[in-house]
């Protein structure tokens, strides 16, 4: 019994050694990177002036080239179609895969294997998929872009779908089983109705991210507005680049707003919105794949 120890003494401070070691490691990593990377830091001095010059040429010297607006919109529309088809490809494949990858409705071993497979898909950025696989197969153009985005989306959507399925209420599942439902019937009537609102919301959310991804795929020739932005900047047609850039920003915001509105309408009706709500809170704005 330690009750006898004097009450006035302070408790001993917990050791911070581990934390300090971690901080030291991070500081060293940053220091090493700053010193050893091949950068002439004096160029930073030119950055504000250089950036201003580019912006000036884009928007203020002659104003953005509004004659280029039609072409920009056309290419941006291509980007949106690419994102839409890519999202559909991702949705179609990720739904069954999500069921297989969820530990509570599939068997543990298979679920784990499927999870690893999904992690592997997600590790490839869309641009890499486009360059290495889909442009060689489908040729230069938006079809390659849509396929690259589709495959990457399978990875992210499959993971999110599996996570939603793992969070379901087991009541309806037991009810279907008690009424004699087979595995497929359990999934259809016990699981699917519970997860569908969240899953559809994820599809829309993925579409928003894919619009951003599709806006840059053109840089490698996989279709969309990235192509004309890269070309106009490379050849110094800054007023045109400025117009295209404005179109990207506005289109992204418009798509986000529209899709976000539908998304919220869908989840509002759902009883269990914890998973989707939490994920959106975490990554809503990152505009980047998880």
């Amino acid at each position: 019994m330690t009750v006898a120890s004097p009450r006035t003494s302070r408790p001993t401070r917990p050791s911070h050694a581990k934390r300090n070691l971690g901080v030291l490691f991070v500081v060293l990593l940053i220091g090493w990177s700053l010193v050893s990377i091949d950068i002439r830091y004096e160029r930073l001095v030119d950055f504000p002036r250089g950036l201003w010059l580019v912006i000036y040429k884009m928007y203020f010297e002659h104003g953005p080239d509004l004659g280029y607006l039609g072409i920009s919109l056309e290419f941006m529309l291509d980007s949106i179609w690419i994102a839409w088809i890519g999202t559909i490809i991702g949705a179609i494949f990720s739904l069954p895969i999500g069921f297989i990858a969820a530990k509570n409705v599939s068997s543990g071993l298979i679920a784990n294997a499927m999870r690893q497979f999904l992690n592997a898909i997600r590790a490839f950025p869309e641009l890499v998929l486009a360059v290495a696989i889909f442009v060689p197969i489908a040729g230069l153009g938006p079809v390659a872009g849509a396929l690259a985005i589709g495959v990457h989306s399978i990875g992210t959507l499959g993971k999110l779908t599996a996570e939603v399925i793992e969070g379901i209420d087991s009541g309806p599942v037991e009810a279907v089983r008690a009424a004699g439902g087979r595995w497929a019937q359990i999934q259809r009537w016990g699981v699917l109705p519970q997860v569908l609102p969240d899953v559809v919301a994820f599809w829309l959310y993925r579409f928003e991210i894919n619009v951003r991804a599709a806006a840059i795929l053109g840089i490698v020739g996989a279709g969309g507005i990235g192509f004309i932005i890269e070309q106009t900047i490379r050849f110094g047609r800054f007023p045109r680049a400025g117009t295209a850039l404005l179109v990207v920003i506005l289109a992204t915001i418009v798509v986000d707003t529209g899709s976000g509105w539908v998304r919220r309408r869908i989840i509002e009706g759902a009883e269990k919105k914890a998973v989707a709500a939490e994920v959106f809170e975490r990554i809503d704005v990152a505009g980047q794949p998880v």
């Binding site: 030119d46 088809i85 490839f124 950025p125 290495a132 060689p136 938006p142 505009g287």
Partner: protein
């Protein structure tokens, strides 16, 4: 009272909502537009399946040239040439994360309702941030390259812009949700606004901040592997060069390397996050 009489009858079906059929119809219309050749991207499934035969050449091509074999035949002797750009990728991600997250910390307090009661500052900050976030990192890189020339510096700056947008958004929303008790306690004991931020708000949001920073570091690792495609430094430069030369077996080495690198960093990051938060 009709309740007793109708006790065994079924409850009335809710009126079917118009939203669902409307949604399905608009989905079909948009998809048709997207797939069609006239309006959309001209996705022809038959043609695509015909093109699948190209996979064979892509994956298994045989050639006397080491660099010119298929993707499934990585040219491992090429690996040492990729070491330096790969290291540069890591360095870019580290530097950008450090600076981006460092800048985001003070900015986040200016765009949270809790720490900045001035609605003007707050709203202006939020609007600027949503524009900053609407531009993808690669487009930043393109613009910065026009300003500075090629190299890792514009790449790092692009990542920093992107990071500030993400972290400020996430962190300011966390600050919005803090417990106001400690803030009131600080104010009651005569603390200035800066002091309440330091001693009442910071300790509450610090674990989240660390988690967001790690998350952003992961994003940066992925982003910095492709920034080189536009000339902003890192392994993407080699990736795109080998692609342009049709050196598939060299490309294959780079892809495997990027893959392992990304998975490894993610693994470490998840492990750290679990320990810290």
């Amino acid at each position: 009272m009709t309740a007793a009489a109708d006790a065994r009858s079924r409850p009335a079906k809710p009126r079917p909502s118009l939203a669902v059929p409307l949604g399905i119809v608009s989905f079909l219309v948009i998809t048709w537009l997207a797939v069609s050749r006239e309006f959309g991207i001209g996705l022809d499934v038959g043609e695509l399946i015909g093109n699948l035969t190209r996979i064979e050449g892509l994956l298994w091509r045989v050639s006397t040239d080491q660099a010119d074999r298929g993707l499934l035949n990585p040219n491992w002797p090429f690996l040492p040439q990729t070491a330096e750009p790969m290291l540069e990728t890591l360095q870019m991600a580290v530097i950008a994360s450090a600076i981006g997250c460092g800048l985001a910390l003070p900015i986040a307090f200016f765009v949270s309702r809790v720490t900045t009661p001035n609605a003007g500052v707050f709203n202006a900050g939020r609007s600027v941030l949503s524009v900053i976030r609407a531009i993808p990192d690669i487009l930043y890189a393109l613009i910065f390259i026009a300003a500075l020339g090629v190299g890792p510096l514009p790449g790092i700056l692009a990542l920093i812009f992107f990071n500030v947008g993400v972290v400020v958004k996430l962190l300011s929303e966390t600050v919005d949700g803090v417990d106001v008790g400690p803030i009131e306690a600080g104010r009651a004991s005569g603390a200035s606004r800066a002091q309440t931020v330091r001693w009442a708000v910071m300790p509450q949001v610090l674990p989240n901040y660390v988690a967001y920073s790690l998350y952003v570091f992961e994003l940066n690792i992925r982003a910095s592997t492709v920034l080189g495609i536009v000339g902003a430094g890192g392994i993407g430069r080699i990736l795109y060069r080998e692609y342009s030369l049709f050196h598939w077996s060299n490309l294959s080495v780079v892809i495997v390397e990027v893959f392992v690198f990304v998975i490894l960093i993610e693994f470490v990051s998840i492990w750290l996050r679990r320990r810290l938060v």
